[in-house]
């Protein structure tokens, strides 16, 4: 079985700082980590490989220093790592990023399953996973919390998809793309031998030219999304709990809504 995991390197902080001139994240001086949601994708891929055999390859698109995230992935047991890095893809939005990663996957060749984290901790869009699948014309299932059954030879996959309450059971054909939530597993800690291997491992590097990317679809020019402003919203003040029987609560609520002239 051939599995690809797409990961993103993100700043290790909950206190994200923003450059107000460019509306981008300030990465300087902030240590970088693998996007936490992607660690579940890596773990699930490794578990599938342990069960079914095959190979796991990790992809990332980012600046040259994103190589560090790939080495961390190798230390966990990932077989091969590919870094897509080029000044021309800098500033890509989720559409341009999805396009770029999809082109890289085409160049890579046949894949049975692509796994992504449900979203990146910094951008929080949850769009790149599905975007890659759309670009490749593959079925995709988001928010997977369990792989119930997978039979690569029959091109069959059955998963549980997390909902706000309960879950959906979805079947699909392989190849497919799934994005996973943290409920799916508990990521492993790297091994010492894995870390030693990661230190020496060769990282495959692809540029925009290597992928013959359409210049109009990458980087800032290829990104229809324009970020007008990024800001930290003010913390919401505490809510008010209504007491009493349902009827009393409804009366209180209606009164409040009238009071603030919402109805």
């Amino acid at each position: 079985m051939n599995i690809v995991v797409c990961i993103k390197q993100v700043p290790e902080t909950n206190d994200v700082r923003i450059n107000n001139d460019t509306n981008t994240l300030i990465r300087e001086g902030v240590p970088s980590i693998i996007n936490p949601f992607d660690t579940y994708a890596l773990e699930e891929a490794l578990r599938l490989k342990e069960k079914l055999g095959g190979k796991v390859t990790v992809f990332t698109m980012g600046p040259p220093q994103a190589e560090e995230a790939l080495r961390q992935a190798i230390s966990l047991g990932i077989d091969e790592a590919i870094l897509i890095s080029d000044r021309r893809v800098a500033g890509s939005d989720t559409l341009a990023t999805s396009y770029t990663l999809a082109e890289a996957l085409k160049k890579y060749g046949e894949v049975d399953l692509i796994i992504c984290g449900k979203q990146a901790m910094d951008g929080d869009t949850a769009q790149v996973g599905p975007g890659i699948a759309e670009s490749l014309g593959l079925p995709h299932i988001t928010y997977v919390k369990k792989i119930e059954e997978i039979r690569p030879d029959d091109r069959y996959l059955k998963v549980e998809r997390m909902m706000e309450e309960g879950y959906e059971v979805i079947e699909t054909n392989l190849p497919a793309l799934i994005t996973v939530v943290k409920e799916i597993n508990e990521p492993r800690v790297p091994s010492l031998k894995g870390m030693m291997r990661a230190k020496k491992a060769e990282i495959v590097k692809w540029s925009a030219a290597d992928l013959a990317l359409d210049e109009k679809k990458i980087g800032l020019d290829g990104s229809p999304t324009w970020v007008i402003k990024i800001f930290t919203p003010e913390a919401r003040s505490g809510g008010q709990m209504l007491q009493g029987s349902p009827r009393e609560q409804v009366e209180q609520l209606a009164g409040k809504l009238k009071e603030i002239k919402l109805v």
Binding site: R188, V189, P190, S191, L192, K193, M195, M196, K199
Partner: protein, 385 residues
């Protein structure tokens, strides 16, 4: 302080720290409260290759030595000394085989210990033989091609949890300490049972248990080295494992220091952080200085051992004494910095204080360590004459 660690040593330290922070710290208080053996955490350590950091590659390790093991023990001890001793206790059971085992014994017993698939333990102490290790009463009677072991071992770390035990018994009582021998014993064989599990002041997640041998037969192939070598095996083993206790103590002290520094900058009294008071600052300064000095002594001793230098007993004893006394002092002062909160179980320092005490007692009390140091000083005088 920088100690010129190699890339690999830095990796080991980072990996142990990651496991300590992510897997141990969140459950340390609960394991302590429930006296629960850390099975899951030891599995994580095994999968991460940390059980083999001090063992040669030929036996499944990663080729480091005493120093690498100390780095792991220190990091684990920052989060929980009970977990750390369960890890280190396996090493204590493995070292006699590494140092004195035949090639066949090493090939059979060390690889599963290096992979952490099996746990090791070391059984010397008895109810009436503690500091006076030569007073052991357990006997090993030779019969044809096997030995018959009878007696009881007390307070054995990893007792009941370990698979491979190195056990000391008298093969010839008349010879005193020269009549002791060491044997490799496996769990699950008839005649070898476990007694009560102790309820302890500290390191409560670790297992401390009685081992009971009742006419227990083992093949002569399980004798370690030769008959009569038991006492020497024990002493030579302690020479290389005492820095591990030192590292455990350094870890406990460092954990308490970190907690105290952080707390001093959160707690406000008289309208300011207590870290702004000189009374607190000087305590923290002394805690940090002692901890760093203990670390330097432990590391230097471990490096001496790894260079294969002879006559390490004195330094092994010194680093164990100094680090464990430091851990006791630093954890006591950490509680003082926390004040009343430090005395409460909701905060981590009271556990560190309870855990620290054992480091002054096991693997030779600090009084015995001072005997070793003094004896070596006097021997040195005799050598000069």
């Amino acid at each position: 302080m920088s100690y010129h660690l190699t890339d690999e040593q830095n990796m080991i330290k980072d990996l142990a720290r990651k496991i300590a922070q992510e897997k141990i710290a969140p459950v340390a208080a609960e394991l302590d409260e429930k006296e629960e053996f850390p099975h899951e955490i030891l599995k994580v350590l095994a999968r991460s290759d940390l059980f083999g950091v001090y063992l040669p590659e030929a036996y499944g390790g990663t080729g480091g030595g005493c120093f690498e093991q100390c780095l792991v023990v220190e990091e684990l001890s920052k989060a929980c000394a009970g977990v750390a001793v369960s890890y280190a206790g396996s090493g204590l059971g493995c070292y006699p085989i590494l140092l004195f085992g035949s090639e066949a014994q090493k090939e059979k017993y060390i690889p599963p210990l290096a992979r952490g698939e099996k746990l090791g333990a070391f059984g010397l102490t008895e109810p009436d033989a503690g500091s006076d290790a030569a007073a052991i009463a357990m006997t090993a009677r030779r019969e044809k091609d096997h030995y018959v072991l009878s007696g009881t071992k007390q307070w054995i770390t990893n007792g009941g949890e370990a698979d491979i035990y190195v056990i000391f018994a008298m093969t010839d009582k008349k010879k005193g300490s020269r009549g002791a021998s060491a044997f490799i014993v496996e769990k699950g064989t008839p005649g070898f049972d476990f007694g009560k599990k102790e309820n302890k002041l500290g390191i409560r997640s670790s297992s401390t248990r009685e081992l009971i041998f009742n006419d227990y037969k083992i093949p002569e192939a399980n004798l370690l080295s030769r008959e009569g070598m038991g006492f020497i095996i024990a002493m030579k083993t302690f020479d290389v494992t005492r820095p591990g206790i030192g590292a455990q103590a350094v870890g406990i002290a460092a954990g308490a220091l970190d907690a105290a520094v952080k707390y001093s900058h959160e707690r406000r009294q008289f309208g300011q952080f207590i870290s702004s008071f000189q009374a607190i600052q000087h305590m923290l300064a002394d805690m940090a200085t002692l901890t760093e000095a203990a670390r330097a002594l432990v590391y230097s001793t471990a490096q001496m051992i790894d260079r294969g230098e002879k006559n390490v007993s004195r330094f092994s004893a010194m680093c164990k004494v100094f680090a464990s006394d430091t851990a006791m002092k630093v954890t006591t002062d950490a509680i003082q910095v926390f004040g009343g909160y430090g005395y409460m179980k909701e905060y981590p320092v009271e556990k560190m204080f309870r855990d620290a005490k054992i480091t002054q007692i096991y693997e030779g009390t600090n009084q015995i360590q001072r005997n070793i140091i003094a004896l070596d000083l006097i021997k040195g005088l005799a050598r000069k004459k």
